[in-house]
């Protein structure tokens, strides 16, 4: 109870500080989400069209995904220094894996009868992709986006270890000055951000899945 009241007290006293941390958290996460989204989607399309590249690219993505996030941040410091840039690069590397996996699964999972009909009616390769495969894979791809968004929002929480901004600043400061309420307050905001994003994307995913089946 004491913790909750001190958290509420923190939000009241330092509302502007938390708001600015929240905004920079969103900005950081959003940059990584956009980058991972574009790179992951592109790689997923490439490996589903040229399947012989699939094992290599999936393998690399899987290996990168297994590196603990804090160590990935550390590994990057000598190359890209400290600060937001390093954080965004690390989170993008994480986010690419679920995007590639779901894009690939969605595109290769389209009913072969539908593809044969589309091809037999004279679709070009790009018409097949944009008019048939991508719309039909949209539900599965959105599930990947959802997964990636939640993960990136969470991982952004430790980006302050390499000097980046975001709510991780509150968490880190709470730890160093032994103020558990401050750590908890930062964590709660991250959790709320993740839950709300997940809920909204879930709605979108449901719409596309209903249309696609």
């Amino acid at each position: 109870m004491e913790l909750i009241s001190s958290i509420l007290g923190l939000f009241k006293d330092r509302g502007a500080w938390f708001a600015s941390l929240l905004l920079s958290h969103i900005a950081l996460a959003f940059s990584a989400i956009i980058l991972a989204g574009i790179i992951g989607l592109a790689l997923g399309i490439v490996i589903s069209e040229k399947q012989r590249f699939a094992p290599v690219i999936m393998g690399v993505c899987n290996v990168l995904y297994t590196i603990p996030s804090i160590s990935l941040l550390g590994i990057l410091i000598p190359f890209t220094g400290i600060g937001n840039k390093t954080a965004v690069i690390a989170m993008t590397i994480y986010g690419v894996m679920p995007m590639v996996r779901n894009t690939y699964a969605g595109l290769t999972g389209v009913d072969p009868d539908i593809l044969e009909a589309a091809k037999g009616m004279g679709s070009t390769e790009s018409q097949m992709l944009f008019r048939i495969k991508l719309p039909l894979a949209a539900g599965v791809i959105l599930a990947g986006i959802r997964n990636m968004v939640v993960m990136i929002i969470a991982v952004t929480g430790i980006a302050s270890f390499v000097g980046a901004g975001g709510l991780g600043v509150a968490i880190y400061r709470g730890i160093t000055i032994y103020n558990p309420a401050m750590t908890a307050a930062g964590s709660i905001l991250i959790a709320l951000l993740a839950i709300i994003s997940d809920f909204l994307l879930g709605k979108l995913e449901k719409y596309f899945r209903k249309r696609g089946s």
Binding site: D113, A117, G120, M121, G122, S123, P135, R211, G212, S213
Partner: protein
């Protein structure tokens, strides 16, 4: 004039010969039903016509043009294609499904307003009501889907229609209605139809000519009544034994 000509066409997959030296001429306006056991090569023969399968040797002429020198994408847009599991696009309305070929080929005369009228006319031609236009495929019955599949195959006014067991997955009564519908369409539009089936009764009822295939070879290519009256090989004789009582198109 010949619509489709095969000369000495051979196709193998691995060490299995699917089609062995097939030569065949199909006249414009003919309704050719192709029959044989599963794996006899009838579907492969059909897919050779729209270039989904390329022959190992031999040549194929479609509307007088050698397929080797034809752009496959353009070719397919001029050939209607309808398959057993229909392959309607689940994310498109019935109207968008029917208008697919005109849409991908930016065909003139299919602008927004005209599109609805033309799609509706095609629905009527296959015996469906126009209020289906805004529905999605999942809300249609099996027979309705098959009919939409035919309407879609006819949309670009093709001169040739390829049908691969199009009525394989519907009940007996619906099947009979669909057969009558395709006969009507054939008579009205005078298009060349190549129709794969494994049902000898269907083959003899629909075809102006029937092609009997076995192990990648043509057993007989003849009118249905001649196939019934004078089967040329033991295989054909055996095939028609069971169907003596069925009616024949004359």
């Amino acid at each position: 004039m010949n619509s489709v000509v095969f000369s000495h066409v051979t196709k193998t997959y691995g060490d299995k010969t699917i089609l062995n030296d097939i030569s065949l001429e199909i006249n414009q306006g003919e309704f050719v039903t192709m029959i044989g056991r599963s794996g006899c090569g009838k579907t492969t023969l059909l897919k050779l016509v729209n270039g989904l399968v390329t022959p190992d040797s031999g040549s194929i002429l479609v509307n007088g043009k050698d397929l080797k020198e034809t752009d496959k994408v353009q070719l397919r847009r001029t050939i209607g294609y309808s398959i057993q599991n229909v392959g309607l696009f689940p994310h498109m309305t019935i109207e968008a499904n029917i208008a697919y070929v005109p849409s991908i080929s930016s065909m003139p005369g299919w602008d927004k307003t005209e599109r609805k009228e033309k799609a509706a006319a095609l629905l009527t031609a296959v015996g469906l009501e126009r209020d289906l236009l805004d529905r999605y495929p999942h809300s249609l019955s099996g027979g309705q889907k098959q009919r939409v599949g035919i309407a879609r195959a006819l949309a670009a006014s093709p001169s040739i229609l390829l049908m691969d067991e199009p009525f394989g997955a519907v009940d007996e009564i619906t099947r009979e209605q669909l057969q009558d519908q395709i006969l009507k369409i054939h008579e009205e539009r005078k298009i060349t139809i190549l129709f794969v089936t494994h049902d000898i009764a269907e083959a003899l009822k629909l075809g102006t000519k029937t092609l009997v295939l076995n192990d990648g070879r043509i057993e007989q290519y003849d009118t249905p009544d001649r196939i019934l009256d004078s089967p040329q090989t033991p295989f054909v004789r055996e095939l028609i034994e069971k169907s003596r009582n069925f009616s024949v198109r004359v």
